[in-house]
C-alpha cells in the first residue's frame, strides 16, 4: 500500500527534515498529531495537500503534474526527460533537483530517485494536471458496458477482456486511430490538446459507430478519442492528450521566474521619497486621531464608519478617499482608535494612541507599517459594494480578507528581489503568477494592486522601489525576500544551515527598520524662526519639550516637514492662563528663537498680559456686606469666624465658602444681628416655623419686624394651611367662591401674583380657558416665568401652567 510506504518514508526522515516539513506546512501540526502515522495521514488529506500545492511555484508544480500523469513511481531520468522536453529553454537541471528537494521537504514527493512517487492523495487533489483530461479508465466510467464493448469491437477487434480494458489498451497507443479520422476531426482534437481538455458539442451522448460516423465529432466519439462526459460536453482522454502533446506534459515551461520589467530608479532618491511619505503617513494618522479625539464619528449599527464621516475626514485630511480609508484602517488595526463612548458608540483614540504619540516618528512609523503588513483587512475595498450591493464602509467587519497579508508579503517580496527597480504592475502580477500559479483570480490581482499602491502611501516603497527601511521592515516581520521564492534561494541550503529558514533570514538581516528610517527623517530642531507677521516657523520637527511649549503659546497653522505656528491674542492668553508670566514667555521666546523677537510680537505679549487677569472671578457660597468697615474688621478678627473661611474682598465685602443660612446662623451665634439678602438685594426673613426645602427662587419674605404682629400671624396660619393641604395624600377640589370673577389691569395682576409667590399665599384668579370660557380658580402660585404662572390649582387638585395673558384678575383669599 502506497500510504504505508509513505508513512514509512516519513518515519525515515531525519528530525531536521521533519522540522523542515512542519515549519513549511504548519497546518500539519495544528493540533499536533499523536504519531507520525497521524502526521502522514494528515499530510495526505485533501485540504493539507491543497495548501501545500498552493505554495508551489510554476516549475515545481509542473514537476508534480508531470509525476501525476505517470501511473506509478517513476525514475528520476524519466522525469528529467519529460521536464526537459517541456522546458522552453535551458536544461532541466539544476532546477529539477531543487524542485525535488523542496517537494520531498514538503512531503509531496517521496521515494528514492529510481522510484519517485507522489504522496498519497496528491494525484486526486490535482483535478486536471497540466490541463490534461482524466485517463481512459475514468473518463468512460459512466458509459454503459455494452456501449464500451461496441466501441472496443470497432477499434480493437479481436482483443479480449472487458470493453473498458480493451478500450484502454487501444487508446494507450492512439496513433493508428488518429490516422483514421479526417483532418477536421484532427484539428478539433488539436484545439483540446493543450487544455482545457473539455469542449462543448450539442448532443454529446449520441450513439455512433465507426461505420456510421459522419461528422468529425462523430468520428472521434465512435473511436473513443473523445469521451462524452455530459449532455453537451466531451473530454479528451489523458492518454490521447499526452500523445497529441508529443510526449511532453507541458508546453513552454519556464524554469526560472519571468524577469521583472519596469523603470530603474536611483535607490537613494527612492529611499528619500519613501521616507517623506512615511513621515506624511504618520502625520495623517496622528491628525486623524487628533480630530477624532474632539469630534469622534459615530459607530454604524453594522459596525463601520459612516460614508459621510468618511467624506468629511477625506476633506479634513486633504487626501484621496482611499488614503483616508487606509489611515483609518491602519489606525484601527494598530489599536490607536477603537469603538468606545456612549450607548451608540463612537470611534475614539485609545490610550494606546497616547503611548504611540510620544514615541519617535521612526518608531511610530514602524508600528503602523508592521500593522499594515500583517493586517487581514483590505482598506482598498472601502467604497466598493458587497455581493448584496451594499456599500462597504471603512472599519466594517466585511473588509477582512485572509489572503491580504499573504499577498502583501508576496508583492513586497517581488519588489525586494529587484533593488533599484520600479517594476510595472503587470510585471509584478506575472512574477506572482509564476510563484504561486494556483493562487490566481480577480481578487488576488486586486489585492496586489492595493498592496502596491498602499505600500507607496505608507512609505514602504518610494517611486515604486522598495526602500531601505521597507526592506528592514520586511526582515523584522520575518518576510525575507526569498520567503516566497522557493527554488532559487534554496540551492545552498544543504550546506550547513541550521534551524528553520525564516530564522536564518531574520538573523541575516536583523536591522531595526526604525534605525534605517530615522536618518532620512527630518532631525528634531530646538529653535524656531519668529517673524513680524506673528508666525513662528519650526524648520523641522521640534524637540518634544519645545513642541509642547509652542503648542501652548501658539496655534499650529500648517504642518509637514516644518511646522508653522501663529501667535494670537487667544494663544498668548492661553499660555498666560497656563501659568506663564509675560516676562517668562518673552524670555522663552528669546531663548528658542534663532532670530530676534519681532517688536510686534513682544508688544502683543505685553498687551495681552496687560489685560490678563484684570478681572477676577471666583466662587463664594455667601457674602457679608456692611457699610461699616470697622465692623467687618471685627468679624474677620474674631477667632470664631475661622471655620467660616472668610475672605475680605473689599473694605465693605467679605466672601465666605459656607452657605447663606450657615453664615447667618454662625454670625448670630457670634452675637451679631445679620439679615439675609436676596439676589436682588432685598432683605428676606427666615421662616418662623419648621424648616422647608431650600428652594432657590422661592424665598418668601415679609417685611422685617419685631415681635409677632397680627399680619405675620395671619401669614403664618395661611402658610400652615397651605403646607397642610400640600401634605394631604388626597386632594379634594375646592369649590370656587361665589361672586364675580376678579378682574384687574395686567400689571396689577402680575404684581399681585408676585406678592403671592413671595408670601406663599393662595389667591383666587379669573382665568379664560383654552375654549375662551371664563373660569375662576383657587391657586397656590409657585413661580412665574416666560409669560406663564405655575401653580397648584386647588380647584382641580393638580399643578397647572397658566398663561398670564389669560388671567383676567387676581384677588387675595382671606
Amino acid at each position: 500500500m502506497a500510504s504505508m510506504e509513505f508513512t514509512e518514508w516519513i518515519r525515515a526522515r531525519s528530525d531536521e527534515q521533519l522540522r523542515e516539513l512542519v515549519s513549511a506546512r504548519p497546518e500539519l501540526i495544528t493540533p499536533v498529531p499523536a504519531h507520525l502515522e497521524g502526521l502522514a495521514a494528515r499530510a495526505g488529506s485533501p485540504s493539507a495537500i491543497g495548501r501545500a500545492l498552493d505554495r508551489l511555484d510554476r516549475f515545481t508544480l509542473a514537476v508534480v503534474e508531470t509525476l501525476a500523469v505517470q501511473d506509478g513511481p517513476s525514475p528520476r531520468e524519466t522525469l528529467a526527460d519529460l521536464v526537459g522536453r517541456a522546458l522552453a529553454a535551458g536544461e532541466p537541471e539544476p532546477a529539477l533537483g531543487a524542485a525535488l528537494d523542496r517537494l520531498r521537504d514538503l512531503a509531496l514527493v517521496y521515494g528514492p530517485d529510481d522510484a519517485l512517487d507522489l504522496a498519497p492523495g496528491v494525484r486526486k487533489a490535482l483535478d486536471d494536471p497540466a490541463g490534461l483530461g482524466p485517463p481512459v479508465a475514468d473518463v468512460f466510467r459512466h458509459h454503459p458496458p455494452e456501449q464500451l464493448d461496441e466501441m472496443a469491437d470497432d477499434i480493437a477487434p479481436g482483443t479480449t477482456g472487458t470493453g473498458k480494458e480493451r478500450l484502454a489498451a487501444a487508446l494507450a497507443e492512439p496513433a493508428k486511430l488518429l490516422e483514421e479520422v479526417s483532418g477536421e476531426a484532427r484539428a478539433a482534437l488539436d484545439q483540446l490538446a493543450w487544455g482545457p481538455a473539455t469542449g462543448r458539442v450539442p448532443n454529446a451522448r449520441r450513439e455512433v459507430r465507426v461505420g456510421s460516423a459522419r461528422s468529425p465529432i462523430e468520428q472521434l466519439l465512435a473511436r473513443g478519442l473523445l469521451a462524452a462526459t455530459g449532455e453537451e460536453s466531451v473530454t479528451l482522454p489523458r492518454e490521447v492528450g499526452l500523445h497529441l502533446r508529443g510526449g511532453r506534459v507541458h508546453r513552454d515551461l519556464p524554469a526560472a521566474p519571468p524577469a521583472l520589467e519596469g523603470t530603474a530608479r536611483d535607490q537613494e532618491l527612492a529611499d528619500r521619497t519613501a521616507a517623506g511619505q512615511a513621515f506624511a503617513f504618520v502625520r495623517v494618522v496622528e491628525e486623524l486621531c487628533e480630530r477624532w479625539s474632539f469630534e469622534p464619528p459615530g459607530v454604524l449599527r453594522t459596525g463601520g464608519l459612516g460614508v459621510r464621516d468618511m467624506k468629511r475626514l477625506t476633506t479634513e485630511l486633504d487626501v484621496p478617499e482611499w488614503v483616508a480609508a487606509l489611515a483609518v484602517e491602519v489606525a484601527h488595526a494598530a489599536g490607536l482608535v477603537a469603538q468606545g463612548g456612549g450607548v451608540d458608540g463612537e470611534w475614539l483614540p485609545t490610550t494606546g494612541y497616547d503611548l504611540w504619540r510620544v514615541r519617535s516618528t521612526a518608531d511610530r512609523w514602524v508600528t503602523l507599517a508592521l500593522t499594515w503588513l500583517h493586517m487581514d483587512r483590505v482598506p482598498g475595498l472601502v467604497g466598493e459594494r458587497d455581493e448584496r450591493d451594499r456599500p462597504l464602509n471603512a472599519l466594517h467587519p466585511d473588509l477582512r480578507r485572509t489572503a491580504a497579508p499573504v499577498v502583501r508579503a508576496a508583492a513586497l517580496g517581488v519588489l525586494a528581489s529587484a533593488p533599484g527597480l520600479a517594476p510595472s504592475r503587470a510585471s509584478v502580477l506575472d512574477r506572482m503568477a509564476w510563484q504561486q500559479p494556483r493562487r490566481r483570480g480577480p481578487l488576488r490581482e486586486q489585492l496586489v494592486e492595493f498592496a502596491l499602491r498602499e505600500a507607496e502611501q505608507v512609505g514602504v516603497t518610494g517611486l515604486g522601489v522598495l526602500s531601505g527601511h521597507g526592506r528592514a521592515l520586511m526582515a523584522s516581520a520575518g518576510i525575507g525576500p526569498g520567503a516566497e521564492e522557493s527554488t532559487r534561494t534554496r540551492a545552498g541550503k544543504a550546506a550547513g544551515s541550521k534551524g528553520t529558514k525564516g530564522a536564518a533570514a531574520k538573523a541575516a538581516v536583523a536591522v531595526d527598520p526604525a534605525a534605517v528610517l530615522a536618518p532620512l527623517l527630518p532631525e528634531p530642531v530646538d529653535h524656531v524662526l519668529l517673524q513680524a507677521d506673528l508666525t513662528a516657523v519650526a524648520p523641522g520637527p521640534l524637540t518634544s519639550e519645545l513642541n509642547r511649549w509652542m503648542t501652548l503659546a501658539a496655534d499650529v497653522e500648517s504642518k509637514g516637514g516644518a511646522t508653522v505656528y501663529r501667535f494670537s491674542d487667544a494663544s498668548v492668553r492661553r499660555a498666560l492662563d497656563a501659568g506663564q508670566g509675560a516676562d517668562e514667555l518673552l524670555a522663552a521666546l528669546e531663548r528658542h528663537s534663532a532670530t530676534p523677537v519681532p517688536q510686534a510680537l513682544s508688544y502683543l505679549v505685553a498687551d495681552v498680559a496687560r489685560r490678563h487677569g484684570r478681572i477676577r472671578v471666583g466662587t463664594a457660597g455667601a457674602y457679608i456686606r456692611c457699610d461699616d468697615p470697622a465692623l467687618l474688621d471685627q468679624i474677620t478678627a474674631d477667632r470664631r469666624s475661622a471655620s467660616l473661611r472668610l475672605r475680605r474682598l473689599a473694605p465693605t465685602v467679605i466672601a465666605s465658602r459656607t452657605s447663606r443660612a450657615a453664615l447667618v446662623d454662625s454670625l448670630r451665634a457670634m452675637g451679631y444681628a445679620p439679615v439675609a439678602e436676596s439676589l436682588d438685594g432685598d432683605v428676606i426673613v427666615s421662616r418662623l416655623d419648621g424648616r422647608r426645602s431650600e428652594g432657590p427662587a422661592q424665598t418668601r419674605s415679609v417685611p422685617a419686624s419685631n415681635g409677632l404682629d397680627p399680619e405675620v400671624a395671619a401669614a403664618a396660619v395661611r402658610a400652615l394651611r397651605a403646607g397642610d393641604a400640600a401634605h394631604l395624600a388626597r386632594r379634594e377640589p375646592v369649590a370656587a367662591p361665589d361672586g364675580a370673577i376678579p378682574r384687574g389691569p395686567a400689571t396689577s395682576t402680575i404684581t399681585a401674583l408676585q406678592d403671592a409667590i413671595k408670601q406663599g399665599v393662595r389667591v383666587w384668579i379669573g382665568y379664560l380657558d383654552s375654549q375662551g370660557n371664563a373660569t375662576s380658580r383657587i391657586l397656590e402660585p409657585a413661580r412665574m416665568e416666560g409669560g406663564y404662572l405655575t401653580a397648584y390649582d386647588e380647584t382641580r387638585a393638580a399643578v397647572h401652567r397658566f398663561a398670564l395673558h389669560r388671567i383676567t384678575g387676581v384677588a387675595g383669599l382671606s
Binding site: 513621515f279 487626501v319 536618518p519 524662526l529 524648520p539 509637514g560 532670530t595 517688536q599 510686534a600
Partner: protein, 550 residues
Amino acid sequence: MSVNDGPLIVQSDKTLLLEVDHEKADECRKAIAPFAELERAPEHVHTYRVTPLALWNARAAGHDAEQVVDALISHSRYPVPHALLVDVAETMARYGRLRLEKDPVHGLILTSSDRAVLEEVLRSKKIQPMLGERLGADSVVVHPSDRGNVKQALLKLGWPAEDLAGYVDGEHHPIDLAQDGWSLRPYQQEAADAFWHGGSGVVVLPCGAGKTIVGAAAMAHARATTLILVTNTVSAHQWKQELIKRTSLTEDEIGEYSGSKKEIRPVTIATYQVMTTRRKGVYSHLELFDARDWGLIVYDEVHLLPAPIFRMTADLQARRRIGLTATLVREDGREGDVFSLIGPKRYDAPWKEMENQGWIAPADCVEVRVTLTDEERLAYAMAESEERYRFCATTPSKTRVTEALVRRHLGEQVLVIGQYIDQLDELGEHLNAPVIKGETRVKERERLYQAFRDKEIQVLVVSKVANFSIDLPEAAVAIQVSGTFGSRQEEAQRLGRVLRPKADGGGARFYTVVSRDTVDQEFAAHRQRFLAEQGYAYQIIDADDVLGGV
C-alpha cells in the same frame, strides 16, 4: 546619507516654506516662482502656495510637471511626500488635455488628446448648450460667442482648456514708445514681452512699479486700436497724460469715455463705472466694445474688475487682453475667472525685490495705539454693535494723535487717509489742510493733487476716493485713521500711495492710528498681518510716545 541642505520645506498642505537667508534661496526662488504663488513674505521664511491655478499658470508658461517635481525635490530640505508629487503631476496634466482651436471649416472647435476627458466634459449639463456638432471622436464645435463661457465652465470642472484659437489683429494703429529721456525698466520690458508671447494674460506688479508703462509697451507691441478700462475718472486722466508722455500718441488720438465725456478714438479709456451703468436693467454702454475693431483691451487693476465686466469679457475672447494688477488676490475669490477670461499670469515680481532694486520706495509701517479716555470707553461699551467701529475709529483721541504725527513730520508731504467724512472734515479743520472726498469735483481734486505734487500743499486729507490709481509720488508719509474693516486689498492700495520712488530717494512712513482694546484693534491686526506678510517692517507704539516724545 542624510537629508538635503536645501532652503525649501514642502508642507503637506501644499505650501512651500523658503528660508530667505539660505545661500541657495535665490536660486530656489527662481525655480519655484513659476508654479507657486508667493503668499507671505515676512523677514525670514517666505510662504509660497502651490494651487491648481498656479500649476496651470506654469503649464501655460511652458513648464512641465517634470520640471516642477525636479525643482521641489532638488531644493527641498526634507523628503517630499510622494503623494504631493503625484498630485502636482496629475493637476498639471489636466491643463491642455482640452484645446480650443481654430478650424478652417467649422470655426472654433474644442479638441482633446484624451477622449475620456472629452466624454466627461460633454456629459456636463453646464457645457452642453455651448457646444455644437460633434466632429469625430476627438473634437466638437464651440459656438464662437461662448468661447469665454466654455473656458470658465471647463476650469470649474477642473479641465482648463488651452486657448490656441488665436486673436483678431484688430484695426491697425501706429503706436510707439517715445523713450526720450527715459527708458523701459528691464522688468517692464520683460513683463510686456511675456504678455505678448503669451497672447493674453495678467501682469502682476506692485503699486508704483509703473504698470501704466507696461500697458503702453503692450500697446506698442500690438500697434492696434486699444480699449483701456480703468477704475475711475482721475485714473483715466492719469492714463491719458502718461500715454501722451510715453508714447507717440497725441491728445487727439486718445478718447475718454466716462460719465461726462463719451469720446471714441483709436485709443479709448473707459471707466468700469460707466461700463457697468445700467439703464432700465440694460447695460447702456455695451456698444463701446463693438464701436471699433479693438486690437487690444487693457484692464487696469484686474483684482477690482466688477462682475459685469467679467461677463462682457467672456464675449471678447477673440481680442488680446492684458490685465494689470498689484495682486491676484481677489476678496471675492474669483481668481479662477481672471485666469480663464483675462488669461494666465504672465509676469510676477515680488514687492520686496522691486524695493531692493530701488524701483519702489522702502516703507516703514507704524501702528499707533491710542488709549481711549474713560468717557470714550464707556460710550464705546454702550454703542450699538453696528456703530462700534465708527465710534472707535473716529474718537477725538485719534485726532490729537494725528495732529501730533503731522507736527512730527513737518516739512514732509503728508497724506491723511480716512473712511468717515465727518472725521476727515474735522481733521482738515484741525490740520488746516484741504479735504478730498466723494463730493469734491474732479477738477478741484486734480488741482489739489497737483498742488500737493508741487509741494504747495504739504498736508492733504483724503477719503477712500484716493485709494486707487492716483499718482502722488511725493507723499512720504501716510497716516491712516480709519478704513474699511481691515480690507487687505485696501491696505495694499493705501500703502501704494507712498511707495512711489521719492525724488530724494528717502523711505516712506505709513502710520495707522488705532484705538486700543476695540474692534479697531482687531481690524488693525488683519492689516498688520498683511503688511508683515508683505515683508514690511512693522512696529507698534503707544500714542503717549507720539504725544509726549516729539
